[in-house]
């Protein structure tokens, strides 16, 4: 019998946890969007799209900032622990999004 990841079944809980994470990460994080899908190996996954403020996107501390934010999101959302889903992260700055006007990030 196929096993459906808990994250697919409990999408409201996933959304609520992500909302909580976004609030906890203000003002560095402008918003967090996400997709629930399978990754390239067929594992259920959450793909986070994290829009950073321009201040938080400074290159000299980008590594530390993105690592810290990823950890915080994982600590709050617990994608694997609670929902059985792998978590992947993509970041961009507010000014990059203003230029790219990517609907998936709005």
């Amino acid at each position: 019998m196929p096993v459906v990841p808990s994250g697919i079944v409990h999408q409201r809980q996933v959304a609520a946890a992500i909302q909580k994470a976004a609030q906890a990460l203000q003002p560095e994080v402008v918003r967090i969007l996400y997709s629930l899908t399978l990754d390239s190996t067929g594992t259920a996954a959450i793909f986070f799209r994290v829009l950073l403020s321009d201040e938080a996107s400074r290159e000299d501390r980008l590594y530390e900032t993105t690592q810290r934010i990823s950890r915080k999101i994982i600590d709050i959302v617990k994608p694997m622990e609670k929902f059985g889903m792998e978590a992947y992260f993509n970041f961009r700055s507010a000014s990059e999004q203003a230029k790219l006007k990517d609907a998936a990030w709005e």
Binding site: D39, T43, S57, L62, T66, E86, L100, A104
Partner: protein
């Protein structure tokens, strides 16, 4: 310069090649190249343990991307469980340092394996320089972490498992 370090340097160059208007081609190749830097770093380290030098190139061809990703995800989850169970502060300092470095290597491989797929094959989204610079910096950190622990037993055992075919 060895291949892994050369690839990492190339990824760093591509990520910053057009600082004002980065080309998608440069950003996508930076992600892909950074992944391959880590892939080749782990394989080049793993084959050093094989005594017969003349067999090492053939051995290197036996490593498979998806298996390596699965092994890395399992190792990361195992370490997460251990960190949670024992509370990080109760682990001896050296052991905690080694395991934290190994966790970064394993987690970076999992992330970059997927990001490489997206960069190479997924047309649906544009890459931003911020994301690419951060990801290349993470691979750079994983290189440093690996170099700090490469002679540890746990690191050598991890290399051996990269050849295994395991299910999650």
């Amino acid at each position: 310069m060895r291949l892994p370090e050369g690839l990492l340097e190339q990824a760093q160059h591509l990520a910053r090649r057009e600082p004002k208007r980065p080309k998608q081609a440069s950003l996508r190749r930076a992600i892909s190249t950074a992944y391959y830097a880590l892939f080749h770093l782990l394989i080049s380290e793993a084959i050093l343990s094989w005594k017969r030098v003349e067999d090492r190139d053939d051995l290197a061809r036996m490593f498979e991307h998806t298996n390596m990703k699965t092994v890395c995800a399992n190792k990361r989850d195992e370490l997460n469980g251990e960190f949670k169970k024992t509370k990080k502060t109760t682990l001896p300092a050296h052991e905690l340092t080694v395991k934290t470095h190994l966790h970064l290597v394993a987690e970076t491989f999992v992330q970059m394996h997927q990001q490489r797929e997206n960069a190479d094959y997924d047309y649906s989204t544009a890459w931003a320089r911020t994301d690419v610079v951060a990801k290349v910096a993470t691979v750079d950190a994983a290189f440093k972490s690996w170099k700090a622990i490469r002679k540890e037993d746990i690191a050598q055992a991890f290399l051996f498992t990269l050849l295994q075919k395991k299910r999650r």
